[in-house]
Every structure is written in structure tokens, then in C-alpha cells.
């Protein structure tokens, strides 16, 4: 965990409204675990006041510029342009300075390598699944089910394929892959591979549907959640979600930034997760 005052190595639009940003982050890859995130200060001046949370898509090394120089260590994020902060980010270029705090939060538990894994990504929810796939692909069978509204919302699938992951794409409008919801694909795959464990990240309604499917079949599920965050380190208590057994009289809140963002499904109070009013735009995508 560190605050990196760093520079952007590249920032490109990879699909309409979606960007991929590569940041110089020496030392980051040794500590970053699948499912962790970072908090980015999008510009030095204010506003926007608060940092924005983004999942860590991957880390890696660039070949050294010249002999004797150490290779450059980088971190990549994928982001969707939704509001003030991400609009500013979309205008940043190679060489621009940004600050990132990370890696933060608890990542995925990679679990038993003898079990098959199904990863379910909805839109930008695909982000935290790549490093997970990377760490699993050599040890067990990994299948990625990727859902989006249209073909524009399907990201980076070929990169998963390069890891040896079997990928299935579905879109609501049928513009790419199978027409329909990704949860329908999930049910079919679980019929065929019932002993898989499931890892999911995406909009809340999708996660709820995934939860219901996995719960009914008694399949282990881990989900990565989004919440409004101010600090990202457990200091403000702004990012809490309702834990299992939560009642008005005995509230049980879990801190998304510190105890999450990845939770085992049985830690959460699913009956109430969808009730949050005016939650956030990104979650409705």
C-alpha cells in the first residue's frame, strides 16, 4: 500500500466510452492481488475533490529502454466514462501526472485448484477478473462468461483467451455472441459443470441474479462490489454494505474498501442489497 505520484504511460479508447490506462507503478505488481483496487486522484487541482476507485485490471513489465536499465513496471486499469472524474481521465495523455493509492482492499480467494472456475463479468465488471484468471488458468479449468448490453460493452475477451480461458459472450441485443442475459449462460454452464465455483463482478441486478442461481444450486460464490468511497482505506466508513443478519435494530455493516471489495456471497444480506436508493450511475450500467 502506497501513494504513487506517477505518470501515465498510455491512455486509449478501446471501445466507445471505455478506456484503458497504463500507469508507471514500480513495486506495485509484487503486492497487488487479484480483486484489489486503487484510488486515483484524477488531477492535482480541485474539483473533483475525492479520488475515484478502480479495479486493477493487470500489472506487468515493459522491456527496459536501454541496456542496464531496470524494466518498467506498470499497472493497467479499464474504465467507463460516466461522470466528471472519468471524463477528465479520458482527456489525459502519456506523460501526464496522476496519483494512485494502492493496492487496496481484499481480493479474491483463489480457492481449491482442483475445482473448475466460472468467472462472470458484466460490462466493466470484467476488470478484477483478469488477474484472477491469470493466477488460476495454469492450475484449473477456467471459463469466462462475459455479458454486456451491446457489443461495445464487451471488453478484452481475447486477452482472457490468450491465457487459455474458455470464453462465452452474450449481449442483451444480440449484437455479439449469444442474445440474452449472461445469467442464462451461467445456468447452462452450471448444468454442465455443477462442481464449479463462481466469481462475479458487475452491476448489482446482475450480481443478485447470479447470487440466486448459485444459492439455489449451493455453488460457492464470491462477488466484487462497488460502493461510494471517500478514503478507500477504512477511515471514513462511507462505503459500508449490509452484512448477513442485518436488521434495523441490530445493523451489521461491512466495510467495502477494507473488508471487501470481494465478499463471499454468504457474508452479505442479499435481501436488502438492491434497495439502495440513488446508489450510483455506474452500478446501473
Amino acid at each position: 500500500m502506497k501513494n504513487y505520484k506517477t505518470i501515465i504511460l498510455s491512455n486509449q479508447e478501446i471501445s466507445p466510452g471505455y478506456y484503458r490506462m497504463r500507469l508507471l507503478t514500480p513495486g506495485f505488481s509484487e503486492t497487488a492481488r487479484p480483486g484489489q483496487f486503487l484510488m486515483m486522484r484524477v488531477q492535482q487541482s480541485l474539483p473533483p475533490l475525492l479520488r475515484r476507485p478502480f479495479g486493477i485490471f493487470r500489472t506487468g513489465f515493459l522491456p527496459a529502454d536501454c541496456e542496464g536499465m531496470p524494466p518498467k513496471e506498470y499497472t493497467e486499469i479499464l474504465y467507463k466514462v460516466v461522470g466528471r472524474g472519468t471524463n477528465i481521465m479520458a482527456d489525459l495523455h502519456r506523460g501526464d501526472k496522476v496519483e494512485v493509492l494502492g493496492p487496496l482492499g481484499r481480493g479474491f480467494d483463489v480457492g481449491d485448484p482442483s475445482e473448475e472456475k466460472i468467472l462472470v463479468g458484466g460490462g466493466i465488471g470484467l476488470v478484477p477478473l483478469y488477474m484472477l484468471a491469470e493466477s488460476l488458468a495454469s492450475r484449473c479449468k477456467v471459463r469466462l462468461l462475459m455479458g454486456g448490453r451491446t457489443r461495445d460493452d464487451i471488453l478484452a475477451v481475447t486477452e482472457f483467451e490468450r491465457l487459455g480461458v474458455e470464453t462465452y459472450v452474450s449481449t442483451d441485443d444480440g449484437s455479439l455472441g449469444e442474445e440474452g442475459l449472461v445469467t442464462r449462460v451461467l445456468e447452462r454452464k452450471l448444468d454442465k459443470y455443477p462442481r464449479s465455483s463462481v466469481y462475479a463482478c458487475g452491476p448489482m441486478p446482475m450480481l443478485e441474479a447470479v447470487y440466486r442461481i448459485c444459492h439455489r444450486r449451493q455453488v460457492p460464490l464470491q462477488v466484487s462490489l462497488e460502493a461510494l468511497m471517500a478514503c478507500g482505506v477504512g477511515a471514513c466508513l462511507g462505503c459500508v454494505v449490509k452484512g448477513v443478519g442485518h436488521t434495523e435494530d441490530a445493523p451489521r455493516y461491512l466495510c467495502t474498501c477494507k473488508q471487501g471489495p470481494v465478499f463471499r456471497a454468504e457474508q452479505l444480506d442479499w435481501s436488502r442489497l438492491g434497495e439502495e436508493p440513488g446508489y450510483c450511475e455506474g452500478c446501473k450500467s
Partner: protein, 307 residues
Amino acid sequence: MSNGCPNLTVDLGGLVLKNPVMPASGTFGYGEEYAPFLDLNRLGAVVTKGLSLKPKAGNPTPRIAETISGMLNAIGLQNVGVDDFIKFKLPFLREFTTPVIVNFFGNTLEEYGEVAARLSDIPEVTAVELNISCPNVKKGGIVFGTDPKAAHEAVSTVRKQLNKHLMVKLTPNVTDITVIARAVEEAGADSISCINTITGMAVDIKTRRPRLANRTGGLSGPAIRPVALRMVHQVVQAVKIPVIGVGGIVRPMDALEFLIVGAKAVQVGTANFVDPASMITIIEGIEQFLLEEGLSDINQLIGSLEL
């Protein structure tokens, strides 16, 4: 200024700090959350998240909303309670040489007294900061921080139970803050910190619902700095005890403004979220400014406002 290092030590009426910069309660957790990002030994003091007698779960979500140059929060004072704080959180802070100031609040006078009594026995707690600005309502509908009589009562109750430095934190949500300031001074406060957050609201225009589940919340951050500065200026004129300035401090120059109007120290809140090292930058910036101005001691700057 012989060795070129100006003196940053301030004396808050017996509570001596190596420099005047500390976190604002509720924005620095219990200290451990930010320890990976900055050296707690460099701070003037550590101020912890507000405690109550019993653990408190806080408000429903959404609890935060960003606004122009500020944020609204309605955390609802979620905390582990005074006993678990002493058992599980305080040992971590013992490892540092920095004084620990523990912020707390009560729902009733009895609770204020009880929490104060428990903290009184703990040697690692250097001072306490009494939050009378919380929106909790005493029997009879009087809010402690907005009624001078109730404020006086709360502070005297705590004073009787406490053998440590007593800092009292004021709410800005009043017509005349100097009336409350005088009441708490008279009741035995050793210092005053001001201000707490300003009640505000934000609405999602698409859903037409409040952006906070609690409907309203406390505004903090740069947006409130001019209001905080005005109130600190007023309180400094109204009382003899030291005043600690809080509200929207982000850069060294913001802290300097508060010191010039007469605050003996400052607290940095929301800025910690934006940059965990902001308090270190502020300490270094104050030092640099004193050097540039040819001042050997920060106390030459404090209260140097020209009117």
C-alpha cells in the same frame, strides 16, 4: 532561528504539541488506517474517530455524496465503543510518541460522564475532544451543541469526571457561535476546536431523491473553509482558552490563514481522503513559510491578523 529551523511547538494550555497539525476526528479512523501512508510521529497529535459508550452501527447507505469542493457525510458516528477502543485500537497508538486525543460523544448527560470517566483512567489518552455537535437529541429535545445551557451542562458533567485536557468541539449550525464558546469555557473546557460539519443536502435530479439515505448530512472540505475561518476568528475574540481551527484545510496556506486569525493549532479532515500525506505537506509548508517570513517561532505568527 540560529540553526535555520523555526520552532513549531505550540502550547494549548498545558497540552504541548511539537507542531500544530493534527487530523480531524472521523477522517483518520483510529490511526492505524493511515499509518501505512505517513509517519504518525510527525504529527502534532492523533485525533481518533468519535466514540460512544456502546458500539454504534451508524446510518443506512448511501452515506456520502460529493459536492463542489466538498463532501456530505451522514456516517452516523459508527464506532466500536469506548471499551473496544481501549482494548483493541489504543495498543496500536501506544507505539508512537505522538499525543493521542480521543474524540467522544454521548446521547445523554450520563453517557457523556460515563465515557469521560472511562477515558480518564487511561494513561495513553493524552487529551479528549468532546463532540457536542452530534445531532443526537437529549430528553426534552435540546441538542447539546446548539443550546448554551445544555452545552454548559454537558461540559461540566465531563469536567467532573475527567483529569485530562478537555477540548470541546463546536458545531457551526448555530446563529451565534460565540455564545456557545463562552458557555463551554465557563464550564471548564481547556480548549475549543471549531468547526464541525455544516448541515447540507444534495439531490439526484434523475431519481429526484436525496443522495443521502439520511436526507441531510454534514458538509466538509474546501467548500466550508471561509465559514470555518470566520467562526474561528469570532471565537478567538470571545474566549481566553486556545482555539483549534478546523474546516476545509487542504494546503499549507489554508492552515496559515487559521493560525493568523488566532488558532493555536489546526485539524485536517477531508483532505486526508484526497491525499494521505497532506498533513505532512502542511507541516513542511508552515515551516517553509516561517523561514521565508524570517520568523523563528510559530507563536509570532499566531494571532498576527491585522485589522
